[in-house]
Symmetry: none
């Protein structure tokens, strides 16, 4: 079933108003397993409205027109529909009755402008708008159900559940079985996923549609299946997908990386502390952006200079001199210092060169060392992210959080993050 939308209003074209109605309708249509087919947005232009209604009605089973029902001269929807379906405007008795009741309830006088709102194409019936004076209206033209609705979100949205969905359901005799699974991954890109699926699953069935959405820093993969076998097909290929990409999966549905990390800590009764240099508090801010963070996080140290690394965390001058601030020795000492000072169970430390300045031949901008672990069981890894400063900080923070999540869950921490992006270095 094809459902199209036509939105009208100059304010939508100038970018002064962001349309939220169409996203609301699209989300509601998911309950009927429907996705809109075409969305078109035009200004208050009669000829363009008439041609757009004709064009969309010709290729759709349902057309929802939104906006242009108001009392002013730039509200042209009724007139445009009248021309498009060749059905003259006339005063609609039901609309008049509802307008009178609306005015009565509010103690308003019906103005000449209001009366314009009761003049509808002869072929139309009213769709009730309990919140305003602009009635909706509908007709079926050449097999397409056309519904005209008010643009004011507070009037439109209640009409979706109350009237639009039932009318669509009835018109389409809907009976589709569908199954959707959403999986969230970290550490692999859209193209890395697509290439792997292409090369390793040559028999991936067309009925299981793969969709990708980047929700920085994670990727959301959707497996959508329609048809008789939807559920079993979806289950089977979700299992295969999860088995192949288990190294990268952090959860289902809307799981955030910070949420997954905090849940892992909480479920294992552990607390975490952070010692950040190049990420400057970004990791701690991520952890504490989650409600309930106080159960897993008490203290964080931002040690941006060498002097502060020594004074706050007891990093040795010798290590700083011999190995430099971006070194395995220093991040290990940062973990030690953070553990002993905070009393936390696990510490995470990070030190790197975010750029744009500060790089050397041996340690170019983008170099970063991370260490994590418990007293006496500390691990460390070096990474290289030669990307702009903000991207470097976000990537490094996300990987550091994922390493702790893995450590806590007993998963391998030698995972090959974003391997498809890395050039083989000599």
């Amino acid at each position: 079933m094809k459902i199209s939308l036509l939105l009208t209003g100059n304010e939508l074209m100038t970018g002064d108003t962001i349309d939220s109605n169409s996203a609301y309708l699209a989300q509601s249509l998911k309950d009927l397993t429907l996705v809109p087919y075409i969305k078109k947005v035009v200004g208050d232009d009669l000829n363009l409205l008439v041609s757009s209604i004709k064009e969309l009605a010709a290729v759709s089973d349902v057309l929802v027109v939104n906006g242009g029902l108001g009392p002013t001269v730039d509200d042209l929807t009724a007139q445009a529909l009248a021309q498009a379906i060749d059905s003259p405007l006339q005063q609609n008795a039901q609309a008049m009755e509802k307008l009178e009741a609306w005015a009565e309830r509010r103690g308003f006088v019906i103005t000449k402008s209001n009366l314009k709102q009761t003049e509808l194409p002869a072929a139309c019936e009213v769709i009730d708008n309990p919140r305003g004076s602009a009635m909706g209206f509908r007709c079926v033209h050449d097999g397409c159900l056309i519904m005209c609705t008010p643009g004011v979100p507070s009037e439109f949205k209640p009409m979706v559940e109350a009237h639009l969905l039932p009318l669509i359901r009835a018109h389409g005799q809907l009976d589709i079985i569908s199954e959707i699974t959403r999986i969230r991954l970290f550490g692999i890109t859209e193209s890395g996923l697509q290439d792997t699926v292409d090369s390793e699953f040559p028999d991936w069935p067309a009925e299981v549609e793969l969709g990708f959405r980047v929700q920085m820093p994670v990727i959301e993969v959707k497996l959508a299946t329609v048809g008789e076998q939807a559920r079993s097909l979806n289950t089977l290929w979700t299992e295969k997908f999860c088995a192949r990409f288990s190294d990268y999966i952090i959860g289902r549905d809307s799981t955030r990386l910070t949420e997954a990390l905090n849940a892992a800590l909480l479920n294992n009764g552990l607390t975490l502390t952070t010692a950040e240099s190049c990420t400057g508090g970004l990791i701690a801010a991520g952890i504490t952006s989650e409600a309930g963070a106080s159960r897993v996080f008490e203290a964080g140290y931002i040690v941006y200079s060498n002097d502060i690394k020594q004074r706050t965390l007891g990093v040795s001058a010798a290590s700083l001199t011999t190995h430099g601030a971006v070194s395995e020795a220093v991040v290990r000492e940062m973990v030690d210092g953070a553990l002993s000072r905070s009393g936390a169970d696990i510490a995470l430390a990070i030190s790197g060169i975010a750029g744009p300045d500060g790089g050397t031949d041996e340690k170019p901008v983008g170099t970063v060392w991370m260490a994590w672990g418990r007293q006496g069981a500390i691990s460390a890894r070096r990474f290289f992210f030669p990307v702009p400063r903000i991207a470097f900080q976000k990537t490094a923070a996300a990987i550091a959080m994922d390493l702790v999540r893995r450590e806590v869950l007993g998963l391998p921490t030698d995972v090959d993050y974003f391997s498809e992006l890395k050039k083989k270095r000599a």
Copy 2:
């Protein structure tokens, strides 16, 4: 001149992603005094893309296609354009060169999926995308300038000013005298600005168009003037605007709040340290997101629990017991402790109830205390932001940074932030 937009992506149709690109483009087109003619949105459907490109190109002078340039199978724009204008896909040498340079800069391997991104219709030239691997491309077909652009907002938006507007201007032989000033403000909303201008500047001239754009946490105001007198009119009304709103202005053009804060510190030869409870590192992360932060920032303390407030910063048990963690006494002691431990010139401390839990009748969720200053000259203020957790943290962090910026610049720190919102709530 008629400019149409074609947006593509299943995620736009399902309502999972709200399109902000088209509003951004529409706002930018105002500089050329242009308003988009038709906007059409479709999913990743080849036939629909081909027919939509043909339809829109036939009735428009310029067509901007947005989205579908990625490396995966559901990215169909190049293929659709090739069919629509009957120009076969072939590897574009310029695109290949740019992709190689992009991969080299980042140390990435070019995958098979990336290579797909260099296959463009033979009739097309590349539009540079400095932020990503998906090149834009353009051609003129039957008099219509068609430009295909990436859907990722952080890649699309810089391309608008750098490439799209000049190409549109050249295609349309637009020769408009115009003057544009962009001013950035913090602490006042769009409607607060508009209402004040309406009531206090009844003679505001129609030739000086005011535009607003929210660039969280700041507001960007654009004064756009067209016509013979553009420059002098723009200068005059920019002066009036700046005089009225000086309390809120942080800079011109693209100034960020963190950038303004760091510049204020650097220009005054001062260093800052942070002691954060409810913002959990967000303030320090903001400061260190700016290049060169090490010249003004060395140390930050994230003291999420009462125990850590005492142990790390020497906050007294008496203050915590008598006044609670969210109190003037405690944030003042946090400033004291941070100053003495870090050796910084100025400290900023913050403690509040981010929610959703932890509120009381006396201190409901949204209550926050901030203190800032130098040894012996500490100020404090209480605020109340009854908004969801993330919004609370971002608002509190931004106001705290603005207070330090004001302190350093000798501006009043009793500014009435977002006062127009409070009046509405009252």
